[in-house]
């Protein structure tokens, strides 16, 4: 348990370093998650709303799960070399499947009667989607975003081997930072993952307080 005690000493002595590295990881993860949300969320919601593209949603999810994060990072490095794009593209590719698939199935599963009632009230398609289907499907949509966020943070750590910076830099560099540093950085990246899951839960509650207990 020496490593455990030492790692807290490391946190005290190198608090600033850990903070900077944590921020880098958060930045890379946030950017990748943001891009994938912009790409996958509207597409998934719309396809689910139209009840089209079941094959696409199902295959994206199956193939997405089969793409190992390390392989994506390594492919990214092979294709783009070290820079902004290699890791960002890999992370975006990783984050799209859970977001897209969950958004699709969340909309697809909404009670048809509720949708028909909304149409009968004279709502436009967009209104049906935003005011009826989205609130009802929100828990599932957020579950997808949450999985994507966890994947992205885990993989952003691995991205250090391809010049991604962040906490992974410490974790893959035992020679420099020692057992205590590696352990401390691992705790930090875990804390980051939990914080993001918590943040998403809070956003979900804030957006739709009435459906807090649906999932």
């Amino acid at each position: 348990m020496n490593t455990f005690v030492d790692s807290f000493r490391f946190m005290g002595d190198h608090g600033h370093l850990l903070l900077v590295k944590s921020w880098q990881t958060a930045e890379l993860s946030g950017a990748a998650l943001g891009i994938s949300l912009l790409l996958a969320l509207p597409l998934g919601l719309w396809l689910g709303h139209r009840h089209r593209g079941l094959f696409l949603a199902a295959s994206v999810s199956n193939v997405g799960r089969a793409l190992p994060s390390l392989v994506l990072i390594a492919f990214g490095l092979t294709l783009f070399g070290i820079g902004f794009w290699n890791n960002t593209v890999a992370l975006v590719v990783l984050a799209i499947p859970p977001v897209l698939t969950n958004a699709y199935f969340a909309m697809e599963a909404v009670d048809r009667d509720a949708v028909d009632a909304a149409r009968g009230m004279g709502m436009t398609e967009l209104q049906v989607l935003v005011r009826v289907e989205l609130p009802l499907g929100l828990p599932l949509v957020f579950a997808g975003i949450r999985i994507a966020a966890i994947f992205v943070i885990a993989t952003a750590t691995i991205a250090a081997i391809a010049g991604g910076g962040g906490l992974g830099d410490i974790i893959v560099n035992r020679a420099t930072y020692g057992d205590a540093g590696v352990f401390a950085a691992s705790l930090c990246v875990s804390a980051l993952a939990f914080a993001s899951a918590l943040l998403l839960a809070l956003i979900r509650k804030g957006v739709s307080p009435r459906h807090g207990s649906l999932l």
Partner: protein, 235 residues
């Protein structure tokens, strides 16, 4: 003889011009290193995955039975498996090292813990989704509790359980590539080696492609198993 142009790849230095110049795909490297690198890595990867999914399934199934019979225990088990699932893989490996050392045990503990969430959830949801009337009918026609479970509840929950097994297997194959960071085993191992050696492309593409292919093949085999075991459901 010395080849001057291009990055020289350590350990592969005496290779063909494609290998020495780090071309995109050098078939001669693949055939030359199938037996000493790729094949063992593939076999190790299958072993790592099979052990993790096997233990994870046994553990999750037992936990799901507990959570199913004693509803009060379901939330804490669920939260705990969710907690394990949230820890990033590379971090979990490193956190375990002070306890279990740089060993296959460390890798397997981490891999098993990632399978628990989906296997537990799917098993318990599958069991819960069995209509109450079915259970009542079985009990009413003289089935014991055990018979009801084995002949009614379990078969009806099987599609959900197998769906969980598919997700867990494919995810484990994927996460097991990271395991090579701890012990040089599995398909992640040649990838790490290639990354350290000036990003040797052929090795990355082939080992990475094999990992993806392995996941897809495993998924396909489990679909076949699903069809064979539950011929009444087409999902």
């Amino acid at each position: 003889m010395n080849v001057a142009a291009g990055p020289v790849i350590p350990n592969f230095g005496q290779g063909s011009s494609c290998e020495v110049n780090n071309g995109w795909f050098c078939p001669e490297w693949v055939t030359g290193h199938w037996h000493d690198t790729l094949e063992p890595a593939l076999v190790q990867h299958v072993e790592l995955t099979a052990i993790a999914v096997g233990i994870g399934f046994a553990l999750a199934f037992a936990l799901a039975l507990v959570g199913f019979r004693f509803r009060l225990l379901d939330p804490p088990i669920g939260v705990f498996s969710d907690f394990l699932y949230t820890i990033p893989s590379l971090a979990l490996f490193q956190i375990l090292i002070p306890v279990t050392g740089i060993s296959v045990t460390t890798v397997e503990i981490a891999l098993v813990s990632y399978t628990l969430l989906v296997l537990y959830r799917n098993t318990i949801e599958g069991l819960r989704a069995v209509p109450e009337e079915m259970v009542d009918v079985a009990r009413g026609s003289g089935f014991t509790r055990m018979q009801t479970f084995l002949r009614v509840e379990l078969p009806l929950a099987l599609p959900a359980i197998l769906a969980g097994l598919r997700i867990a297997t494919v995810s484990t194959i994927s996460i097991a590539t990271v395991a090579a960071f701890v012990v040089a085993k599995g398909l992640g191992s040649p990838i790490f080696v290639a990354l350290e050696q000036d990003v040797f492309k052929t090795e990355i593409l082939v080992a990475g492609g094999m990992a993806v292919a392995l996941a897809l093949v495993a998924d396909g085999l489990l679909v076949l198993l699903q069809r064979a075991l539950t011929p009444w459901s087409r999902a």
